[in-house]
Subunit: 436 residues, 2 copies
């Protein structure tokens, strides 16, 4: 038994003691003996930085462990490994940088930090020859970063498509399964604690875009800054779109998509975007319901993979942090680390150059000749129509189109011209259709 060999004591400093931090500390207390038996490592939480050290916590900590001084935790010589769970850019960035400079491995769940300052922090970790692990930053408890960076280290990944935001998946699932309106589903998500009072980061796709940047960087081995991710949210998706999608054999999901479209000068050319999309009903992603997350990976050799689970929540996310912490502690104990490697910046393909099928739902005047005028605009831009349905009468009249594969630029130009037509009252939804 490993438990017979001398145990290595490793001091852990935790920055932030919210949902994930307190779940992590509780898990470490529950599992300390089992971890020591299995790995020979005794993980001791020696300092925990919180905003307000006087507040009551759900976890029991010895006197002197809690402090409001995060820098003191990083600098404490008893702290061997730093776990950063503060979130946001500052002071997280400075604290993580300082820990790495001091030669302390860092485990973080901070997607915003990595999406915006990943390159600088990866370089700092490699320079210091210590681990910087971040499984919890994308997909909560789902093992995703490790499979992508290790199991698929040499896999020629073609495309990664993820449902990486539980709030929006919950809202879209409610709309699909119960015919709920967007506003009601959002209010529901807020009352369940899935959505913030200001839901912008979730529903407008900012959270998913940060995760898309990290997924793309790891899957394709080339840096994708958060700012280069195209982003659209779900607030314009209406019950009519959900109903049409269903009837046509699709589910509407907010997807983070990172795709290899070519190579330029030794670097992959990537298209990375977040937008609502029509997913074929028999695609594994279509069955991902409620607030679950899943990431679907297509590789040249491995074929199709999907990793599914709880993308958020204190305990699932803490489980991912703990996996990283044990890995980092094991490496630290053996005097080694896993290099990340400078990846160079990916070449980003503009969404204008991408091709896909499109779903377009427009409100029109209910009078003769409208279809001819609308079809004429599609034709002028070379966008060919696969199917059309007219729905409703009078004020409710709509035309719903699915196009054949067309370039985004041509479809956007088509929409621009359509909006100029007197007979078109509005184009409430444009959705891209996922190809298999």
């Amino acid at each position: 038994m490993v438990s017979d060999s001398p145990q290595k004591r490793i001091g852990v400093g935790v920055l932030g003691c919210g949902n994930v931090g307190s779940a992590l500390i509780a898990l470490l207390q529950e599992r300390q003996t089992a971890i020591a038996q299995r790995t020979g490592l005794k993980l001791d939480v020696v300092r925990v930085a919180v905003r307000n050290a006087a507040r009551d916590r759900s976890v029991a900590l010895a006197d002197g462990v809690l402090t409001a001084d995060a820098a003191a935790v990083v600098n404490d010589p008893r702290v061997d490994i730093v776990v950063e769970l503060i979130g946001g850019i500052e002071p997280a960035r400075e604290l993580v940088s300082n820990a790495l400079e001091l030669g302390k491995p860092v485990v973080t769940g901070n997607k915003e930090l990595l999406a915006n300052y990943g390159a600088e922090l990866f370089a700092a970790a490699d320079a210091a020859q210590v681990d910087l692990l971040f499984e919890a930053a994308v997909g909560g408890g789902i093992p995703l970063i490790r499979p992508l960076s290790e199991s698929l280290a040499a896999e020629p990944v073609r495309r990664v498509m993820g449902i990486v935001n539980g709030t929006t998946n919950y809202i879209l699932s409610q709309m699909t399964e119960h015919g709920t309106s967007y506003q009601d589903a959002l209010a529901d998500a807020q009352s369940l604690g899935y959505a913030e009072q200001d839901p912008t980061a979730d529903v407008e796709g900012f959270d998913a875009a940060s995760k898309a940047s990290i997924i793309a960087t790891v899957a394709f081995g080339a840096r994708v800054p958060a700012g280069s991710v195209y982003r659209e949210g779900i607030s314009s998706v209406g019950p009519a779109d959900i109903a049409f999608a269903r009837r046509l054999g699709y589910a509407i999901k907010l997807l983070a998509i990172a795709e290899r479209v070519g190579h330029i000068g030794g670097q992959p050319e990537l298209a990375v975007r977040v937008h609502p999309a029509m997913v074929p009903a028999d695609h594994p992603l279509a069955a991902v319901r409620d607030s679950f997350n899943a990431v679907f990976i297509e590789g040249d050799a491995v074929g199709e993979l999907m990793l599914y689970g709880r993308g958020a929540g204190g305990r699932p996310t803490a489980s991912a942090v703990l996996g990283d912490l044990i890995d980092a502690a094991g490496n630290w104990g053996r005097g080694t680390w896993t290099p990340i490697g400078d990846r160079g910046e990916a070449v980003i393909c503009s969404i204008d150059d991408l091709e896909s099928e499109f779903y377009i739902n427009m409100e029109v005047l209910d009078r003769p000749g409208v279809l001819a005028a609308v079809a004429g605009v599609f034709g002028r831009h070379g966008v060919s129509i696969r199917s059309m349905e007219q729905e409703g009468l009078g004020d409710q009249a709509r035309l719903v189109f699915i196009t054949h594969e067309a370039a985004e630029r041509d479809v956007q130009a088509t929409l621009g011209d359509l909006r100029e037509l007197d007979s078109v009252r509005g184009v409430p939804a444009l959705l891209r259709v996922v190809s298999r």
Copy 2:
């Protein structure tokens, strides 16, 4: 860029050049530059052992690389890492042992070897302080071993349920979706190359039982020898069972299940078994179709996870082998390894002591009083009935029961007594119902 740093050349010896071996060699050739750029490792296949060195291969290898002498590959001083893809017990066991004794890391995809000699080989790897990696042994290209052993290293796993045999999942999917008979679906699988001419290892659950042994050992950190896995195949599942299951809201799947039922003397008490089971239609495993595999993990902290993908095939499996090979090569280059640790043997709970709901389909004589007699037998053994349906008339008369939770031992005793009744012509199917 990592590519600017000096590359470390690593000699790879491959034992076996069938489907997976030749796919691995082709992948290594395609990806050598990309791997070197990303990891700084130049992986060179220096020797390949085959049964017949004169036969034509689909891969191009330099003169002198192919040999029929597998021991010579292991012993070759230019071979730093050994990849074992021969399968079966001998000579694989001896070759892997010898490689480890020589201090050479080993990557293997050999489920039979690990299920039967895992303990001995894990100890040899730890004694030699080198890696023994086996991602490809379960689930083909699906990252499974790494997530279980690393990401979930400290996760209190409650239950793992896997569809780990593609042949049987293909057969059951055909029966479910097209109403095909078992024999026709099997013949179909054979003509597609999914099933062997002698399909026993697949359809009787031997293949899945080896994988269950490995999954349980990794997930629970305690040895589960292959011989302690309870095993039933799918050859007794008929179209009537599939149809009943569907009507009742279930899909029939061959599951490998490893479950923690308690702790005895510091070791987990586990129930590990392979049998066809009724899976609720809205469970993620029910949607795993065709020859795909998936493993569903339930943990105390992480909640529900599912890992889905291609469980077999040359290129998917080679992709998993390559992930391990890069990991082992990186560790070897840095002079380190990932210890497995002696896990002690798990305490195995007999299937007789397990409780679940049961589906029982029996052929009965079509005459009054039969139900009373049958129900009396259930009652005598304390097995309570949740639902009953009578189907068919005359020679086709059947009773189909779903029980409440009951102990396997009591249900088996019930069946024994039922078979003695004059009015019962046969009990063709007993299926366990998966609880959520």
